[in-house]
Subunit: 129 residues, 2 copies
Amino acid sequence: MHTLLESLRLENSGVPIYIQLREQILRNLGAGVLARGDQMPTMREVAVALKIDLNTVRHAYDELERMGAITLVRGRGSFVAQPPPAISVREQAKQIDSLAKQTLATAVAAGIDPVALADRIKALARQEE
Amino acid sequence: MHTLLESLRLENSGVPIYIQLREQILRNLGAGVLARGDQMPTMREVAVALKIDLNTVRHAYDELERMGAITLVRGRGSFVAQPPPAISVREQAKQIDSLAKQTLATAVAAGIDPVALADRIKALARQEE
DNA sequence: TGTAGTGTACTAGTCAATGCATACACTACT
DNA sequence: AGTAGTGTATGCATTGACTAGTACACTACA
């Protein structure tokens, strides 16, 4: 439960918060971070951890319930129902390719050397491990 | 020009339309679909093709211009931007760091391996030389 | 029985996104 | 000079997102 909660990150990307939440929770469930029947972080825990409103978390959880990924039990909590399948290696490669292209275009637009940028990304990623 | 226009797709994902547009256009630019100096599809063409409002397209184009990816010329059209003037090494290092952090955050939020992303950026950059 | 912890729900307010309509201003061409 | 085609801009309306606050209803446990 801590694992899932800790992996949640909100970006200031203009994407609605409940959508970011929904996507990240789905991805984590697909990756097997929680098993079927496991309890999810409570809505209040997520709200506090991410400093967002309870109703926003609820909105994301509602959608996850609607798609069958979790079940909500009043007074007891939320539980993993039918985790989505993990994304395929091919799909993941597509997402990497897509973000890489966006980032390349952004770097070029800013007059930044993409290779230097890539090196910096790697260095920062290693720092955070 | 047709290629870029034809590749644009809107999803009913809850992600604001202008953000989907911005990301897809950046992705196409990163993929080399248009070269520097090439004309972009006009805002009206995009609006008609996607059945969205002109102002929504404009919003996306404004952001692309703001980040230096395209230039807007009144009465003539929109064009893939030329590279910006070279900046100082120190300033570039700062911008690299900033963009790297932002990209890392995006990758993490999307569940993308930053090292794989960095490798892909390098590969794409080399392809375009 | 009472309480803590959980989901559920409502109202009100603010801000953002989108669409629509319209018109202006510039460019390039005839 | 006129026109088509392009970007630019404004105001208004509607809908959606988010927040805050508050309170209700259920569950499980002591």
